[in-house]
């Protein structure tokens, strides 16, 4: 316990992070280790390059987008607390805690998860998924099996499915609505190691 509390001290404002993200201190510790191993130069922050060296991520069709999501605020660095906050989106939804209705929404709530997913589509961050943005995602994920025309008509169709106000783009509300039936809690959750 002594060692863990000492390393816990290394984490800046651990209490606050735990409170905000719902991670346990064991989680935080583990993530902090990971953070440090990613941060090879011990700068205390990560840059996109640090992510890009991860082999799996390079092979991931939307790896670039995910990396971008970590640098959403426009900076090109991410410190530990932002790192954890982003990852917190992928905690399994904490039922009990949500029921208490305490404080602000945890990042692992359904809406926040959806928001995160939405941002993966919404490249220009104008709050709408345009046809072009959708096409880019499609292109990335469907690969060579599908031709460009097909991609386009798929994008077309997808937009029309969700587009309630007919502005030819999907707003977050529309996005949320069209994924209403989806089990986001399960599908956007990773079981973080303790």
């Amino acid at each position: 316990m002594g060692s863990s509390s000492s390393s816990r001290n290394k984490i800046p404002n651990a209490q606050e992070l735990m409170h905000q993200t719902g991670f346990s201190s064991a989680h935080l510790l583990r993530l902090h280790d990971r953070f440090e191993s990613l941060d090879r130069d011990n700068r205390g922050y990560l840059s996109p390059d640090d992510f890009e060296v991860l082999g799996g991520l390079a092979m991931n069709p939307i790896g670039g987008r995910i990396i971008e999501a970590f640098f959403s605020s426009g900076q090109d660095t991410v410190d530990f607390s932002s790192f954890v906050r982003i990852l917190a989106h992928f905690r399994p939804t904490d039922r009990n805690r949500n029921k208490e209705g305490t404080q602000q929404e945890l990042p692992s709530s359904r809406t926040r998860k959806l928001k995160f997913a939405f941002q993966l589509y919404d490249l220009d961050r104008d709050g709408k998924i345009s046809r072009e943005e959708l096409l880019q995602v499609l292109r990335a994920m469907l690969g060579l099996q599908v031709t460009e025309e097909q991609l386009q008509s798929i994008a077309e169709r997808a937009i029309q499915e969700a587009d309630l106000d007919k502005d030819d783009a999907i707003s977050f509300d529309e996005f949320k609505k069209s994924l209403e039936k989806m089990d986001i809690d399960t599908k956007m959750s990773v079981s973080f190691l303790k």
């Binding site: 994920m141 031709t147 097909q150 969700a162 996005f175 399960t186 959750s189």
Partner: protein, 882 residues
Amino acid sequence: MWNIYVNNLHNSLLIVYKGFYPKMAASWGFTLLLCVLLMVCRGLSLAGEDPDQTLSSSGQVKALSPEIDNALGSNHGTTGESGHAVEPITTLPIVSWKWHHVTTPYLVALWILVSWLCKLVIEANHHVTSVIPESALLICFGFILGGMIWAADKVQTFRLTPTVFFFYLLPQVILDAGYHMPNKLFFTNLGGILVHAVIGTCWNAASLGLSLWGCQMGGAMGDLDIGLLQYLLFGSLMAAVDPVAVIAVFEQVHVNDVLFIMVFGESLLNDGVTVVLFNVFDAFVSLGGPKIDAAEIIKGIVSFFVVAFGGSLVGLVFGLLISLLTRCTKNIQIIEPGFIFVLGYLSYLTAEMLSLSAILSIVFCGMCCQKYINANMDENSVQTVRYSMKAFANGSETIIFVFLGISAIDKVIWVWNTGFILLTLLFVLVYRFIGVFFLTWILNRYRLVPLEFVDQVIMSYGGLRGAVAYGLAVMLDENKIKEKNLMVCTTLIVVYFTVILQGITMKPLVMWLKVKRAAVTEVSLLEKLTNKMFNHTLVAIEDISGQIGHNYMRSKWKYFEENWMSWILMKPSARKKQDQVFDVFHQLNLKDAMEYVTEGERRGSLEFVRNENSIIDFKKKSESESFDINNANMSNDHGAMSTTRDPIPSVSLEMHEQIMKAVREAEAINAHHLLDQHLYKSRKQHRHRFSRSHFDINRDEKEVQEIFQRTMRNRLKSFTSAKMGVKPPKTIVKHTQKEQQQKMPNGKSMDKAKTSYSGDEGSEGDSASGYDQSYMRATYRAGAGIENPAFMPDLDPMDLLQIPPWLGESELDSSMVALSHRAQVDLPRTPSNLRRLAPLRISTRSTDSFTLENIPDTQQMDSDQLQPPPPPPRPPRDDGYV
């Protein structure tokens, strides 16, 4: 293969039959039915019954039917002989009575008929089956049939023997389960399923055996000659959980996927595990208590795992074999479905031969080959496999349950020991609950989404015992286990208790506990896309947070599977078309096509298809020909068009472009196939829920397909004939009515669409689904955007009268080269929803993403079905207006 049923036939049957025959006319009705039932049941008696008993029982038939009685009396003397054939022939017989010649297969067939008739009767009463599960009712029918046999013979001449059960009835049931296993769901929950199936089963077996033994030591059951090992053996056979009844209930109420797969997967694997366990304990019992030392126990444990995993391995090998084989069955499509059954059965027998677990073998065989054979085989063959699999499984299940019921009516096995029976029942229930809760408690610590308390209750309560337990009980060796009959009797009681009582109460319990239901899945592209994106995201997050988790493994496996397994096991042509998002796209297109047709029928004609097609064809032709048609690189061109927001929406253009092109190039015949193919292909990725008695997963799709094809064909026929002044065949009218009835839901949504349109369309916050929404919009725009009167006679029928469709269209067409703004926006979704089908076709042609060999048929089908004979309708209008 049914021979075994009827190894020992009753000669008396001959008599009954012969006597019955001449007098049949006299008393047809009830007597006939009764006699047939009787004959069948008696004829099916299995090995071991003394023929004398049955012969002596012929007197009993008297009571039932005087006619038969007479016949029996008169013919009794001939029974010993094998029919008339043996009698010395004095003259040449013109026809002869050769009952003996056909007895065996005849009785088998009759028996199957009777079982299925039972099912027919049961299923005809929906209000009953909605309360009492079918399996329970079948058992009750078995009671009745058994009662009749008993009344006739004074002895139960029929029993379900292990040989018949394990060799001829069980394999197809298990193969069906394995083949229709929702693989992804299964492997996602594999950990939990395995824990429950292996550890849970062992726990159930051990706890029941030990507790009963303890109780006997405590003197709770009087004087029984059962040792600890025998108790354990009994415990192991009682651990076999039967999925049928639970699954039936689950399907009725649509419980959530996780619960479904946990119960289903567990009970399936558990059957295999139980048999293995049973064999191990059986060996121990044979070995005898004193000879068992630590080494033997270790051997037993090792053998348990070797048998289980070896069996699975055999199954995998055979599964791969089937997959490989179906790669090259292109030229023997008619019999290719047979390979699955034959090889599946062979995998079962091979495992049995190697004394490995046959059940696990056939389960994994089915699971392993499903993906590849579905991709490799012809679509018709896939359907054939599906249906015949269901037919076999369902048929033998019915027989199994009826036999289970019949087996009860037998004085020999009823050895009553209140203590033993009640304690067994109690322990079976209690330990099931304890086991499930304990194991789930452990599992929940590692599960992403823990199983809820309610789910656990249902899982525990769903531990029904079925035919496997009974089959194993009958297999017990009377020489080694003195109380075999007591055990059989107890097993039967447990089976009846669980299947009937728990089966009946299961549904109310599920309702009462408010078990989480499965969401009704409405495919939407965005959903599918997002789903796929989530998968990638999770993998990425696992990468970033540095943990090798579930998603990581899955992506690795997928990579391996796609690059190696598919490469080896799939036809090259099948390999290309495996994208889920794309599949959903197909499905949606298909649905659109359907709606389109239905809509046309609702309005009494598909006239509007023709009109629109021709119109759009013009447009495209006049406008885009210059830069589009002759453009070699179609895809680049279209990409550019869409990005620059070309005045003419590319999607619609493309489609009609293609249609036109097909027409022009006289490839019309080919144009249709792609559509067809895609329609079918989409089913491949559909997630199947296992259903024992129904085929509903695919029913919808299949129906859709059939309806689509048939209507299209009929409609087209009626077009042409109407055009030529020939009255359309009557069948079409009938068909139309049926269609309309079927399509009620859609009709409703249409109405809704209209009202909502007249009110405030934008605020139509119907959460129903993206699809409905889009559909509404489609109809609305059909009217507003394109102003095709033919498409919306219901809205204002006057239009149709005032402006002939072509006139209205041509006005629109001629008035603007580019459509009005509104029309532009709307075009992609405009009346001819079919337009969206176009890109599919384009793709085949414009790129090599599909293999070339598919193209010809593809297009052929396309033009067959979709395009109302393209050349005729077009030219006149061409002349007139362009």
